[in-house]
């Protein structure tokens, strides 16, 4: 099964994310976000970080999860490549994420993301999988 796809949006970029369960869906969403930002093959797993976020529902939880990862990238220059969701409910999740800090000359940043938007946000269970759509403001 595909983990995620990028969908065209005139000014920005949409993510279509898949997972066999919620845990995998959110993990794949994290990976998709950083695939937009950088070349993940250049990123080592030398650092880990605990991330805890909440939201009113699954859709808000998706935005706050990706928003938190983006915040850590913006403030600390973190690039994450592996995401382990340890606990997830409708309103909160706990995760450990692995990666390293941005090093000029070593990493190339492909695209800077301004924000994770609520526009047309979707988190849905289909027959045998979960899907989510997220639009990023670039």
């Amino acid at each position: 099964m595909k983990k995620y796809e990028f969908i065209d949006h005139t000014a920005d970029l949409g993510l279509e994310i898949y997972g066999k369960d919620l845990k995998e869906l959110f993990e794949n969403a994290g990976e998709a976000l950083f695939e937009v930002i950088c070349d993940l093959s250049q990123v080592a797993e030398s650092m880990k970080k605990r991330v805890v976020v909440d939201g009113e529902d699954l859709e808000q939880l998706m935005v706050t999860w990706l928003g938190e990862l983006l915040y850590l990238h913006d403030v600390q220059g973190s690039l994450f490549k592996r995401f382990e969701i340890e606990e997830i409910g409708d309103k909160s999740l706990k995760a450990t994420v692995y990666g390293e800090k941005f090093k000029a000359g070593h990493h190339t940043v492909k695209t800077e993301i301004k924000a994770v938007t609520y526009h047309q946000i979707k988190v849905r269970q289909e027959e045998d999988r979960w899907t989510s759509r997220v639009i990023l403001d670039l």
Binding site: T10, L13, Q60, E112, A115, Y118
Partner: protein, 487 residues
């Protein structure tokens, strides 16, 4: 003439060659009005932006029409190029009506140099700008660090803070929308996260479509107005386009989250979550406006600091002093903002909350908010185009003040998605192609230049001509790029 829009079944009526109406239906509280010519309208129908114009018309307390400028395209919640004004008692304020990059805006400087003075130095100028003005991840200058106390002063005082620190002059402040400072800023309403994101990003350009561009005046459309703005043919100009960086994005994000709750609390029905809002006259509304003002002030300070470094760069490379350079600020405009302004509604003066999302204020001659030296000309309006073609300088008009709450377009607008642009650029060197057209460009981002290639944008001339012909702004001059840095 009635034209049915088959894609979204949105009915559009022609008002005149440059104005189109979407009549109020269903839950819309007012009509939508779109400024475009017939050819543009065909493109506009291809995305969801017309639906977004109708969505904005759902919001409570909207005054006049839900407006869209000719550079309209699909945004989140509000369309980019959208203008909507709300009553202060019955109406709402929406972070999605401003956007993530609060007070993203443009400023333009004129100079005492002509094109031929810098032609052989453009490479050195661009390289030095690239060194002196940080962009890209984590890029910031060591000589500008903000501790928490200083950062809060930036949020309170905007461009004035920068001038007090020696970045620019008192005269610059006279030539910035709102003198570079929104008065209702309250830093206590800005989250810890936003403050942290802002701490290391003041004086940075950011990425995407942000730039510093050296150009020259290639065409003058109105000699008298050009003279009033201090512009003449072949004169070198410098344009800066950036906003409030991570601080503004976080403020928007924080308050969208709050307003998702308040929309339910106040019983506001939303066709899209991103349109979430609160009454202007509510605790949540006031708090957002106070935090938004902080982000707006941060953006004003950001452009002011960058301006200072542009001046230093020019002095350094041209080896001449500020008196000969005469890098004076013409004007600085916001194009993502919500402001409390006085307008005339049905013959009565009324204060309104005007949202401009990808739209520029365009106040007419004699308006008290227009700087004294432009009082007869009208407020300068700066419309950047793509990096390969040209940008425009316009002035505001009385008709804009009456019809669009004193607002006009803000830029070219994309025609190609970023991914399509990258694909179209494959196997080509956009840097080389631009060089062949006499334009030197540098960027940190590997893909930025491909994403921003000229053909990814509409021709800004079409956009500007609609506004000019509709009387919503008057063309003054056209600028052509010579060299630029991109984020």
């Amino acid at each position: 003439m009635n034209q049915k829009n088959s894609i979204h079944s949105i009915e559009i009526e022609k008002i005149d060659d440059y104005r189109w109406r979407i009549p109020k239906t269903g839950k819309m509280k007012t009509d939508g009005v779109i400024y475009a010519d017939e050819k543009m309208l065909e493109d506009i129908r291809n995305d969801q932006s017309l639906l977004q114009v109708t969505n904005v018309a759902w919001l409570p307390g909207i005054v006049g029409h839900s407006l869209a400028m000719p550079d309209i395209h699909w945004g989140y919640g509000f369309p980019i190029g959208g203008v909507a004004a709300f009553d202060l008692k019955e109406g709402v304020v929406s972070p999605g009506g401003v956007g993530y990059d609060i007070n993203c805006g443009v400023r333009l400087m004129r100079s005492g140099l002509t094109r031929s003075d810098i032609e052989d130095k453009i490479g050195a100028l661009v390289d030095t700008l690239f060194i002196n003005i940080p962009s890209g991840v984590g890029g910031h200058r060591k000589d500008l660090k903000l501790n928490r106390e200083k950062e809060k002063k930036v949020l309170l005082n905007g461009a004035e803070w920068a001038v007090n620190q020696g970045y620019g002059t008192e005269e610059d402040l006279e030539h910035i929308e709102e003198r570079g400072c929104l008065q209702n800023a309250d830093p206590s309403l800005v989250s810890e996260k936003a403050l942290r994101r802002g701490a290391a990003q003041l004086g940075t350009l950011g990425s995407g479509n942000h730039f510093v561009e050296i150009g020259f005046v290639s065409d003058i459309y109105d000699q008298e107005l050009a003279k009033a703005l201090g512009l003449e043919e072949d004169q070198v100009t410098i344009m800066v386009h950036t906003g409030s960086r991570g601080l503004g994005h976080q403020v928007c994000d924080d308050y969208i989250r709050i307003m998702l709750q308040s929309s339910a609390k106040y019983g506001i029905e939303l066709p899209d979550k991103q349109l979430c809002c609160a009454p202007v006259d509510s605790e949540e509304g006031r708090r957002y406006l106070g935090a938004m003002a902080c982000a707006a002030n941060y953006a004003f300070a950001n452009r002011q600091v960058i301006t200072h470094w542009v001046r230093e760069t020019m002095e350094q490379v041209m080896k001449i002093g500020p008196k000969d350079l005469q890098l004076d600020l013409i004007y600085d405009v916001c194009h993502n903002i919500a402001k409390i302004e006085e307008h005339v509604v049905h013959g009565e003066k009324k204060k309104l909350c005007v949202h401009r999302k990808g739209a520029t204020r365009a106040f007419p001659p004699h308006h008290p908010d227009v700087p004294g030296d432009y009082r007869l000309a009208g407020q300068p309006v700066l419309i950047p185009g793509d990096m390969g073609r040209y940008s425009y300088v316009m002035v505001g008009t009385e008709r804009a003040f009456k019809e669009t709450f004193g607002s006009t377009c803000h830029g070219a607008g994309r025609v190609m998605s970023r991914r399509k642009a990258v694909k179209a650029a494959k196997g080509r060197s956009i840097v080389r192609e631009l060089k062949d057209r006499g334009i030197t460009v540098r960027s940190v981002g590997k893909t930025t230049i491909a994403e921003e290639m000229p053909e990814a944008y509409k021709d800004v001339t079409d956009v500007v001509n609609v506004m000019h012909n509709a009387g919503i702004g008057r063309k003054v001059a056209r600028l052509r790029p010579m060299g630029l840095i991109k984020g």
